[in-house]
Amino acid sequence: MTLTTGIMVGGIYALVALGWVLIYKCSGVLNLAMGELTLIGAYVTISFYSWGVPFVLSILCTLLVGIILGILVERIFLDKLIGEPILAVIMVTVGISYFFKGIIEFIWGTDIRVFTPPVFSLKPFSIGFLKISTVYFWSFVLAIVLFLVFVAFFKYTRWGLSMQATADDETAALSLGVSARFVYAASWAIAFMSAGVGGALLGNINGVTVSVGYLGLLVLPAVVLGGLNSVPGAIVGGLLIGVLQNFAGTYLDAYFPGGVKDVFPFAFMTVFLLFMPYGIWGWVKIERM
């Protein structure tokens, strides 16, 4: 049960991790506003849901809002920074995160909100000898479906290929007909979408509070573990963090009461990076230099 729950939640982390990896791959930027994006997604979905929009449709609306916000943010804050040092851009994402935090408090306040009526029951059901709670199961399925959609977009569309090309060699991509502005806007749009839906799914499990934003940030270890520039790494990292977190919650909480569940993945990441500084798949980079 601990393991399966971990994997289920890990699927959602993988989705959020994808957003992180995308922006890093395409523009070399570590987007520190990711936690807030996750939280915004959760609030947007719950708002639609409370207006009577069915859950899956609410998710689709969140995707739409994600696209719009992503493009807006890229255009307003980041477009002018193309060519500036990466650190400057990362600092701007910190600024953006505070900006969003303010907006969230302004619009939605800080109270906990839950999806009413509940979308999925918490009742576990069994597959063979496995017991899985319904809400985890469907959240996992939704996360994976979306993840696959993004990957297909990457692989089989001209836009996705343009993004890959830019990630691989920006100078060449520019010179061969790829618009950098398009690629950046697209990567932010997808990051907003994946983080937003990830947030919606997490919020659906535990209720929507600021802590969903922390969970979005919790994905950072997942991304770093997988190797910042690796999509498969995002999956493995996401699942690993999900499992670790749940095991820590189940077995360590008795000894270290409090937030051990949320701290443990960071502690693990730190130790892990001491031994594998480029993450599981990140080493491709070293080989190529």
Partner: protein, 273 residues
């Protein structure tokens, strides 16, 4: 498609007028002119740091000169970004390889042609009709013609960054060609190649320039004097951003100023072929 009308063979397709480009105190280009005629191979030579690569970057839009005008087919293109210039028909290779290292040879070449696809979806049998036909035509074009021409059949599915240097150079040419450009900028395509590879590359360049199927105008930056003098129609000589000479190779090769500025000693001028 092109509002300025077609340029006839022998007319100027690319024109640079009085180009100035400085980086801080380094004057990389100091009032340079260049007129490339359609159908020709126009080479740019000069010692290290002469401004050859900077010139290529100005033509394709990676750099924007501080002064001067660039025309492509009669249209001023100064303000256009590189991808717009690629769409107009200017393609290039790089002095330091810039392949998509993580992709296969075929995907690298496909990426070169992607700007010609009108629909966004590249494959998958679900998407029928126009998309599909376009895709098939595209693939045929790429696979049969470019891969045949460059003799890279055997490595089409290999990952680019694993290939030997000489082959990577060749794949880069293929990718640039897949754009179906009217003008191709080649920045030292022979650098680092062995004798046999240099000969192959020279042959490929002549093929894409002369063969009816391609007829691509070339701007060639190259240090290998033998090749340059052999295959160029015209040669521009740069020295620290200044124009030293511009003319047919036979004349340029005799100009004492050129010999002094670039060729330095006569023995540099001995061809390798």
């Amino acid at each position: 498609m092109n509002t300025t009308g077609e340029v006839q063979a022998g007319e100027a397709i690319l024109k640079l007028e009085d180009i100035y480009m400085a980086f801080g105190k380094v004057q990389a280009l100091n009032g340079v002119d260049l007129e490339v005629k359609k159908g020709e191979i126009h080479s740019i030579i000069g010692p290290n740091g002469a401004g050859k690569t900077v010139m290529m970057n100005c033509i394709n839009g990676l750099y924007h000169p501080q002064k001067g005008t660039i025309y492509f087919k009669g249209q001023k293109i100064n303000g256009l970004s590189p991808h717009k210039r690629a769409e107009l028909g200017i393609s290039r290779t790089f002095q330091k390889l810039e392949l998509y290292g993580g992709m296969t040879v075929l995907d690298n070449i496909r990426m070169g042609s992607h700007i010609h696809l009108k629909s966004g979806i590249l494959s998958g049998s679900v998407f029928m009709g126009k998309t599909k036909r376009e895709e098939i035509e595209e693939r045929k074009f790429i696979e049969e013609e470019i891969i045949d021409l460059l003799e890279i059949e055997g490595i089409r599915d290999q990952v680019a960054h694993m290939l030997p240097y000489g082959l990577q150079k060749r794949v880069e040419l293929g990718r640039a060609l897949a754009l179906r450009p009217e003008v191709i900028l080649l920045d030292e395509p022979m650098a680092g190649l062995n004798l046999e590879e240099v000969e192959d590359m020279a042959r490929f360049i002549l093929d894409i320039n002369e063969e009816e199927r391609w007829k691509v105008t070339c701007v060639l930056v190259e240090h290998d004097m033998g090749v340059v003098m052999d295959i160029s129609h015209r040669v521009l000589v740069l020295d620290f951003g200044n124009m030293v000479d511009d003319g047919p190779p036979e004349e340029v090769g005799k100009n004492p100023k050129v010999i002094k500025a670039y060729l330095g000693e006569e023995d540099l001028y001995i061809t390798r072929r």
